[in-house]
Each structure stands twice: as structure tokens, then as C-alpha cells.
């Protein structure tokens, strides 16, 4: 659905082959595509407008390097500006510079992930920083909300404030802080009920909670799938409470996550953490680089590699790496990969993280293939002999026919699989050669076929 921005831009600039400095017309045309990409990624319109103005000023007159096209140059400028707007390098840690018990206040719209994130932060503080954490639910609205937090506290191995029926949220907050002091907790996490930014009564209530507890962190928890409303929400919560940090949840989805940019631009508060799953250990630091790539549709290869590292069995991975290094990666390994990939998520989710696959992805979507293609491929490989899997080169016409019949597919599909496998081995060889450092230096485009001819900067 979303073509990679660089692909679109190379389209724009195919017509502009000239070199030298970027002129206004070049830039204007390229920025139209950038604007679209940002809007498709759900960056809020007013934020897009500001951003585009900033980039235009930077881009006009910029020298186009010898090795890249004007389109690539613009993408690079956009990417850098985006990383900067998202907070530059490095994650901002939670503020623990306050006298204990340190209150953290969790706020946000209904269902954004506040309660789950409270549990995740508690687990992280306990495990990584050996803090004694108290979880307190101030949610008297949602059915079983307090019980939900109590259960999460148990899973996280931290204490939760005993539930007392009939108390108001402010009363619970006070009791939580009292308990925190009396029982010497390091951190007290105050989970609040979800509320709409236009609900005056509830916004007043959370203001009172804030006044009663003076939190060291007021964390706005936001769904990564949020659309244009990010602006209204960010502004209202920030004006009412002074947000000190943002948590983007559901980054394990395939949303482009433009809300991150909107939230950051409107509140000025750093994005401190991201949620990448429902389990309590699925809490990560925020990486502007990755999210910038994701917003621009250029893929999040670092995220892909990391996610792969999480799911893929370490030993298996090492064996595989050794094989790849020796150029011995065969179809049996590929079948293993397919199984790992299904574990990691659907194909379109994975593909979304790879750079430059906009087209393949669109084709997949058109053909309604998505996960079923993995099963068909597994079936094709299953119908091969051991010898064929080890040495795919020997698979010629008659073997293809047999394999297609055996797997209930077509020769075409067998061909496609073999071609894909070829591409994949080629890409792996390249990845090997570059190593992690090379990847960062040369950018993701170095992986793509034809990168040496300088077609893609990322």
C-alpha cells in the first residue's frame, strides 16, 4: 500500500537527471511526495506543514553529492531532519532524580495501554534498577481495571496498592503516596483511567491528582496507530498536566507511527519508551533513527534484525550465520527461516520493515497472499528431495514439474520461490560482507541489488 518514499522520489527525479545544487523546483516536487508520505504515515497536518517548511529551507541550494541522485539527496535531508525532530540520537531515560517515593503518573486516552505500560515499567525498574515499586490503580471507571493492575503487579513481581472500594482517584493517589512513604518504596506508579482530552470533568480530576502527588514523570501513553487526533490529545494533556515524556505503544504493529512526530512536536516532550507487545518485558527504549525510517516507509531494518534475534534460536542463528558465511545457505535453511518468520509476524509486517520492498508488498497485497504464501512455500520445499534442498541448482524443468505437482502448486510458483531464494542468498552475502558497522555507514540501500550503482542512499 505504501511505496517506499525513496522509490517514489526516484520516480520524481528520473526526469531530473541534472547534477549540481538542488533548485527550488526540484525541491518543491520532491517535497510534495514527502508531504504525502508523512500524511500517509499519520503525521498530523500542521506538523507536516512545519516540517516541510524546515526541510525546504535546508534543501534548496544543498549540494548534490557526486555519488547520489537529487532524489536521494532530498531523502537524506528529510531523514536527517526527521531524526532530529524525533529527538536526535539516544534515548532519554526516566527521571529518577526525586526524593523517594518517586511518583510516576500515567495518563492517556482510553485503551492506549496505560495499565499494561505501568506493569512494564514496574518490571523494568525492579529488574534492571533493583527498585522497590508500588503500583496503584486510580481507575475507578473501567470494570475490573484495578484488578487488572493488581494481576500485572503480581506478574511483574512488585507490590500493588490494596483495593479499597468507594475511594475517589485523588484519595487513592494520596493513600498510594502515604503507603509509599510508610513502606519505603522507591517508585510509586499511578495508573489512571483512560480519558478523552475534551472531557473537562475528567481532565480536571487528573489535574487534581497531579497537584496532590507532584509526579517526577507524567507519561502520556499513546497508541502508535493514532491518526490526526494526536495533535488534539497531545495539546490538551500537555496544557493540563505538563507532559514530561511520551510512551508509544503497539510499535509491534505495522502502523507507520507518524503520531510519534506529532506528539513530540506538539508537547516538546521526549518519547521515552515504546511498547512492542502485550507481555511485560515488551518495553523498549525509543530509537529516533528507526522510527524515522518507518515513518518514511523506508523500513526498519535494525528493528527487523533485533526482532529476528529475539525470536530466532541463538544456536540455530549461529549455525545459519556460519553457513551463510561459507555461501552454504540452502533451501532447508530457507524452510527453517520460513518457520522463524511465521513466528515473527505476518509477511507484510516483516516486509514493512525491509527497505525498498514497497513494490513486492503491494503485489503481495494484491494477490491476497500474505501468510498463505509462506505455507505454500513450505509445501514446495517439503516436496523436494533432500538433495534438491541442499543444492537447489539441480532443480531443472522436470524436477520443477514434479515438485509443483507434489505440493499442489504450479511450476511458476516453484520458479518464484527459487528466484526469491536466490535474491535472499545474494542479500545475505552482501549483509555478511558489510557487517553491522558497514550497514550503518553505507545505509540500508547497500543491501539492495543494484546498490553499488548508487540508486538508493538508505
Amino acid at each position: 500500500m505504501f511505496d517506499a518514499l525513496s522509490e517514489k522520489l526516484s520516480g520524481v527525479f528520473d526526469r531530473l537527471r541534472r547534477r549540481g545544487a538542488l533548485n527550488e523546483t526540484d525541491v518543491a516536487e520532491a517535497l510534495r511526495e514527502v508531504r504525502l508520505a508523512l500524511l500517509e504515515a499519520d503525521v498530523a497536518l500542521e506538523v507536516v506543514k512545519d516540517f516541510i517548511t524546515k526541510v525546504r529551507d535546508r534543501a534548496i541550494g544543498a549540494e548534490v553529492l557526486k555519488s547520489v541522485t537529487p532524489g536521494q539527496q532530498v531523502v537524506k535531508i528529510v531523514h536527517d531532519a526527521l531524526v532530529e525532530a524525533l529527538g536526535g540520537e539516544g534515548a532519554v531515560p526516566l527521571n529518577l532524580n526525586a526524593p523517594a517515593p518517586i511518583p510516576f503518573l500515567m495518563v492517556g486516552l482510553q485503551g492506549s495501554g496505560k495499565t499494561t505500560t505501568s506493569g512494564k515499567i514496574a518490571l523494568r525498574l525492579r529488574e534492571k534498577l533493583r527498585k522497590k515499586v508500588l503500583l496503584a490503580s486510580l481507575d475507578t471507571q473501567r470494570p475490573a481495571a484495578q484488578l487488572q493492575l493488581a494481576q500485572l503487579a503480581e506478574r511483574a513481581g512488585v507490590a500493588s496498592l490494596p483495593i479499597v472500594a468507594g475511594e475517589t482517584p485523588v484519595q487513592i493517589a494520596r493513600r498510594a503516596m502515604d503507603t509509599g512513604r510508610r513502606e519505603v518504596f522507591d517508585v510509586v506508579i499511578l495508573d489512571t483511567a483512560g480519558r478523552l482530552s475534551i472531557d473537562q470533568a475528567l481532565m480536571d480530576e487528573v489535574r487534581d491528582i497531579r497537584a496532590a502527588t507532584d509526579p517526577a514523570e507524567t507519561l502520556l501513553v499513546v497508541d502508535a496507530m493514532t491518526g490526526q487526533d494526536a495533535v488534539a490529545t497531545a495539546r490538551a494533556f500537555n496544557e493540563a498536566l505538563g507532559v514530561t515524556g511520551i510512551v508509544m505503544t503497539r510499535m509491534d504493529g505495522d502502523a507507520r507511527g507518524g503520531a510519534a512526530l506529532s506528539m513530540r512536536a506538539i508537547t516538546g516532550a521526549p518519547i521515552k519508551l515504546t511498547g512492542a507487545g502485550e507481555k511485560l518485558d515488551a518495553l523498549e527504549d525509543f530509537h529516533p533513527e528507526r522510527v524515522a525510517g518507518r515513518i518514511l516507509g523506508m523500513g526498519d531494518i535494525v528493528g527487523l534484525v533485533e526482532r529476528a534475534a529475539e525470536t530466532i534460536d541463538q544456536q540455530e542463528a549461529e549455525k545459519l550465520a556460519a553457513k551463510m558465511a561459507r555461501g552454504k545457505f540452502d533451501l532447508e535453511d530457507y524452510a527453517g527461516q520460513l518457520r522463524q518468520i511465521t513466528k515473527m509476524g505476518s509477511l507484510s509486517g516483516i516486509l514493512g520493515m525491509l527497505p525498498g520492498v514497497g513494490k513486492i508488498k503491494a503485489q503481495l497485497a494484491d494477490a491476497n497472499l500474505d501468510t498463505s504464501i509462506l505455507k505454500r512455500q513450505a509445501a514446495i520445499i517439503g516436496s523436494m528431495t533432500r538433495g534438491e534442498r541442499r543444492q537447489p541448482d539441480i532443480i531443472k524443468a522436470s524436477r520443477k514439474k514434479r515438485i509443483a505437482a507434489g505440493s499442489g502448486t504450479s511450476v511458476q510458483e516453484v520458479n518464484r520461490l527459487l528466484k526469491q531464494f536466490d535474491d535472499m542468498s545474494a542479500m545475505m552475502k552482501r549483509m555478511n560482507k558489510l557487517g553491522q558497522k558497514g550497514l550503518m555507514r553505507h545505509g540500508l540501500g547497500a543491501l539492495m541489488p543494484g546498490a553499488s550503482s548508487g540508486r538508493r542512499p538508505f
Binding site: 500524511l39 485503551g111 470494570p143 502502523a255 505476518s346
Partner: protein
């Protein structure tokens, strides 16, 4: 039309940004020709309502064809735009009807995390109870903390029995047993809650398919409705959600929640064009009575802040 009167009609709950937008739109369209700048403002208005850049551009382009250069007041332009959008939405404004031929009519409720599935089930159960039907609820979210207890409270509010399993129990097995019980008891509707799941997690999507497979062992036509619950705050990712859920579990209709907030839910327009799935109802609050039929005209007017 006087500015004051115009603002009087702006819904109270509009977010400040939308209000400002209303101001600027009003300023643009009082005594003015529909020129390029005016059309661009309209396009921005639609983008801000989450219609997405593509759909917004398309709607404004058709507007340009018919009305460009005409003298037009802000009132006319907004009404016409709302009309155009309502026309796109009208075909999908279809209520959810329970077929009495099925006993029970099985409704499977699915969606990504936190959209409002459990709450919507509570609301639906109450409204069906009020119509004299007997719904039976199934706590199919055996994964999330206190999800079962949450549905149990909704069951109490709606006066319905809630069937539960052990924590971590297989949702498909639970659904199968519940269907057996519903048939034996002659329940009219079986409402199955499921754990929230992101559409890009294929293992979790497979689990949903398993629930359906297992239900069909008892009733080959079950589930008779598969409701996808969407959060109005969601942007363009809703398109991916609908595409994948539809492909994996044959979604039969949508419910859009949290429309009482500042989000306009404009992606529904793009969804109507791309998938033409019925939008059965909208959620407008956290209470049991806060479910409304989807009204194309009202929704369209809400989108552009009328």
C-alpha cells in the same frame, strides 16, 4: 450566516484545534469564490479528519469539477461536502440484525488491542436484552489480565450469563462448549469476546481462525456475524487492519468506537470505498447505553465540524 450562529452549532465537545479550523474555514468561505486556495483548505480539513491524503484529494477533485469558481457561502460549501461524503457512507450504514432462524445467532467480536471489543459486547448485550432477546456472553479473552472479570461485570450490567474458562484456556475450546450450551438453553445470541490482537501477528490470527473452525463443527454457518471493532482515533492503519482481518476471518461488519472524543474517524470513508463493509454501530461513551446506529449523514457532518 452570522459567525455567532455558526459557532452555536459547532458541537460543544470539539477540540480546540478543530474549533480554530472551523474559524478559518468560516473566514475563508464567507462571501468568497471557490478558488484553488479555498479548495486546498477543504482538502486540509478532510485530511485533519483522517480521511487520508488520497481520499481527501479525490473528494476535493470531484468538488472542483462541479463547483469551481462559483460564489458560494461557507454554509453551502460545507453542506455540499457533507452531502458528498454522506453519499459515500450511506451504503455501508446498515444495522446489525439478529436472525431468529439461528439459535443462537453467533457473533464473534475481533479487533486489535484496546479498541473497545469488550465494552461493545456489553453494550450490544444490553440493547438486545432490552429487545427481549437472551444473549449469552463468552469470555474468550483468556489472555489479558482481568479480561474475564471485566466481561463478567458487563454481563451483570446487561443481565446476561457469562461463560468463562480457566485463565490461559484455549479460546476455541471455550467457544465450542459455549455454543453447545447456548443451543441447549435456546439462547438467541452468542456473543464471543476475543483477546485483542494485532493483525500482523499471524499466529494470533490463526487462533481466531481456529475458533471459527471449531464453531463450524456444530453449526456450519457459524459465526453468523464477525464484528471488527475499530477505534476512531486510529489513522490510516485501520485500512491494514480491515484488510487483514477480513482476509483471515471474513469480517461481516464494523463497529467504530470512541467517537465521543476529539477524533473524527474519517478513515471510515476510505474503508467504505475500499471494502464496502457495513458499519453497524458507533460507540459514543463508556457506559452501557453509549452505542448508536451508524448514521451516514450525521457522521459526515461531524467529520467536517458541522
Amino acid at each position: 450566516m452570522a459567525l455567532g450562529a455558526f459557532f452555536g452549532r459547532l458541537k460543544q465537545g470539539l477540540a480546540r484545534s478543530t474549533e480554530k479550523l472551523g474559524q478559518s474555514i468560516t473566514a475563508v468561505f464567507t462571501r468568497r469564490k471557490l478558488d484553488d486556495a479555498a479548495l486546498e483548505e477543504l482538502e486540509d480539513l478532510l485530511i485533519r479528519a483522517d480521511l487520508g491524503p488520497e481520499v481527501a484529494a479525490r473528494i476535493v477533485a470531484s468538488f472542483r469539477r462541479t463547483r469551481f469558481g462559483r460564489d458560494i457561502t461557507e454554509d453551502e460549501v460545507k453542506a455540499a461536502l457533507a452531502g458528498e461524503i454522506a453519499a459515500i457512507l450511506a451504503p455501508v450504514a446498515v444495522g446489525l440484525s439478529i436472525d431468529p432462524a439461528h439459535r443462537p445467532h453467533v457473533v464473534l467480536v475481533v479487533g486489535v488491542n484496546g479498541t473497545g471489543k469488550t465494552t461493545t459486547i456489553g453494550k450490544l448485550a444490553l440493547s438486545w436484552r432490552e429487545q427481549g432477546l437472551t444473549p449469552l456472553l463468552v469470555a474468550g479473552d483468556t489472555f489479558r489480565a482481568a479480561a474475564v472479570e471485566q466481561l463478567q461485570i458487563w454481563g451483570m450490567r446487561a443481565g446476561c450469563t457469562v461463560i468463562t474458562g480457566a485463565p490461559g484456556a484455549d479460546a476455541a475450546g471455550l467457544a465450542f462448549d459455549a455454543l453447545g450450551r447456548a443451543r441447549a438453553e435456546g439462547a438467541d445470541v452468542l456473543l464471543i469476546d476475543t483477546a485483542g490482537r494485532l493483525h500482523n501477528k499471524s499466529a494470533l490470527m490463526e487462533e481466531l481462525r481456529k475458533i471459527i473452525r471449531v464453531l463450524r463443527k456444530q453449526d456450519p454457518r457459524a459465526p453468523h456475524s464477525v464484528l471488527l471493532v475499530l477505534d476512531a482515533t486510529t489513522g490510516q492503519n485501520a485500512l491494514a487492519q480491515v484488510r487483514v482481518f477480513k482476509e483471515m476471518v471474513d469480517v461481516t461488519g464494523l463497529v467504530v468506537t470512541k467517537l465521543d472524543g476529539s477524533a473524527r474517524g474519517g478513515v471510515v470513508v476510505a474503508l467504505a470505498e475500499a471494502f464496502a463493509l457495513p458499519v453497524h454501530a458507533v460507540g459514543v461513551g463508556e457506559q452501557a447505553g453509549d452505542l448508536r446506529p451508524f448514521d451516514a449523514g450525521e457522521f459526515a457532518r461531524g467529520l467536517i465540524g458541522l
